[in-house]
Amino acid sequence: MSVLLSAVEFLHNEPVRVALIVGGGAALVCAVVGVATVMQRQSFAGHALADVSSAGGSAAYLLGLNPLLGFLGLAAAAAGVMEWSEIREARERDLLTGVVLGAGLGLAALLLYFASTVHSASGAAVAVLFGSMFTIPAAVVPLALAVALTALTVSALVHRPLLVSALSVDLARAQGIRVRAVSLAHALALALAVSLAAMTVGAILSTALLIGPAAAALRVARRPAAAVALAAAIGLGATWGGIYLAYESFYWTPGRGWPVSFFIVALVFAAYLTAGALAVRWPRRAVGLPSGCEAH
């Protein structure tokens, strides 16, 4: 009975409802875009975008703007620069990504310092870097939903050409796919997903939401559609489960709730470990080992 009462209370809480909507949207978008990102081997680039976006989030705090606009602005700019530079070689790409990432975090450090001294907003750093699910203003919801919808649409549009590119860029070109345009579209979707994740679980932890569910799903799913569906389920489950646990944690240590981001990331990590265990237990089912393996 008390569980039911607490659940009703949970859903009637305004910050909780905003967190469920925005967090759920972020998790869904991250799962879909994350699967494509992992398949393109761009996980590190995804993390770098999030770190760079933290400078935008910090600036938004300093100027009192909509935080999503801040995250979004810098994530999109960084994605644009990384696509523009057109570096094919993985090593060089990693170097550039690492340098850009560092510069972004450095700028964030400066802006967060100003935010804490000028506005004495000492919570800004934690909010930007580790998320602030329960302090997301309700006014953000329409923009967040628009961003989520755009990211999902773009991701669905380039889904097939992106799969061919993941097989081989030359194969894609031979099939008449405009590889640059497809890659740019994916980078846009990635920037949108990252900015949503940065606002909800924080710039530093956003990688967990972007890459974690996708990586877990790819361990067991055999088909792209199954991977996306499973990643979405894991992302949504972890996010909503995390919000619920964080809400409950107010009763565990009275007056002091645990951070939502911790629970979300912990649940995603648990899903990743579980997927790994399942993949080991059912190797054939999970990845379809060549039948020739047993025959010879």
Binding site: M39, P161, L171, A174, R222, L289, P290
Partner: protein
């Protein structure tokens, strides 16, 4: 023969920087013909295939595909050495399906006609036994079959394969060659296949394009694989020697120093057709 060629290459030259990688390459392929593109590493094989695909521009000459007025005819293509990630969640049948409609935007909805077409293609290349398995976990020969199915599923008039026999064992090599030759007849597609070793191909090929230092001779194997012809192509004397039922192309003692790198190694081994 009144049919127009599936591919005609006339006086094609390709320059990479200041270096002329292909010089005045001329040949034509009829639909259904099986042609080997032979040459040692660095002779320009991959560049020629990429020029046909339109990836690199021609400095001079012309490459025409059948029905090329307006929309470019689809070319089936199997790239060189694909390192397919075992983590890619793509089954063999997904790869073939992507050959059919991978360039389209939007997500694909289940379609019986599409599945039937994919199944037909999987059977045609003998891949039905591993259709449900991840592409990255298949053996080299199995992957080649799936990639051939991917390339052929839209029924192109021309199929290009870049070193498809590299890293295959003897049995897989023979199987893939027989498969490609059969498919070229069944589908009426001209097949142009590059290899550094013509040995497994000589009995199957209708035509050979032999590249050395960016220049080419083309024709029927018995016209091309001859001491005078290849010596003239290389610009120094090479011998086409028959040993134990194989043809070995051997460079004579290095004469002209410009060809030193090539002349030091035996150029090719090849079996008699």
């Amino acid at each position: 023969m009144s049919r127009s060629p599936a591919l005609s290459v006339e006086g094609a030259c390709v320059a990479l920087g200041a270096r002329l990688v292909l010089r005045d390459v001329t040949f034509a392929l009829e639909p259904g013909e099986f042609c080997a593109l032979i040459g040692s590493n660095g002779s320009g094989k991959t560049t020629l295939l990429r020029a046909i695909l339109g990836f690199v521009p021609l400095a001079a000459g012309e490459i025409r595909l059948e029905g090329a007025a307006g929309a470019p005819d689809p070319i089936g293509y199997v790239p060189q050495k694909l390192a397919l990630d075992p983590a890619l969640p793509l089954r063999a049948r997904d790869v073939v399906a992507l050959g059919l409609d991978g360039a389209r935007l939007g997500i694909s909805w289940p379609s019986k006609a599409r599945n039937a077409e994919v199944d037909r293609m999987l059977r045609a290349v003998g891949a039905e036994g591993f259709a449900e398995q991840r592409i990255g976990l298949l053996s080299g020969g199995q992957q080649q079959r799936v990639l051939v199915a991917h390339a052929l599923v839209r029924r192109p008039r021309l199929l290009l394969l870049d070193e498809p026999l590299a890293n295959l064992d003897v049995r897989s090599t023979a199987e893939i060659v027989a498969l490609l030759r059969r498919l070229s007849r069944e589908y009426g597609a001209a097949v142009l296949l590059s290899a550094h070793d013509m040995n497994p191909l000589l009995s199957a090929m209708d035509r050979i394009v032999y590249l050395a230092n960016g220049a080419a001779v083309a024709g029927r194997p018995e016209e091309v694989v001859r001491t005078e012809v290849l010596s003239s192509l290389y610009g120094y004397h090479v011998d086409v020697v028959r040993v134990h039922g194989r043809v070995v192309v051997v460079a004579a003692e290095a004469g002209e120093q410009i060809h030193e790198a090539v002349a030091r190694d035996p150029v090719h081994t090849a079996s008699v057709p």
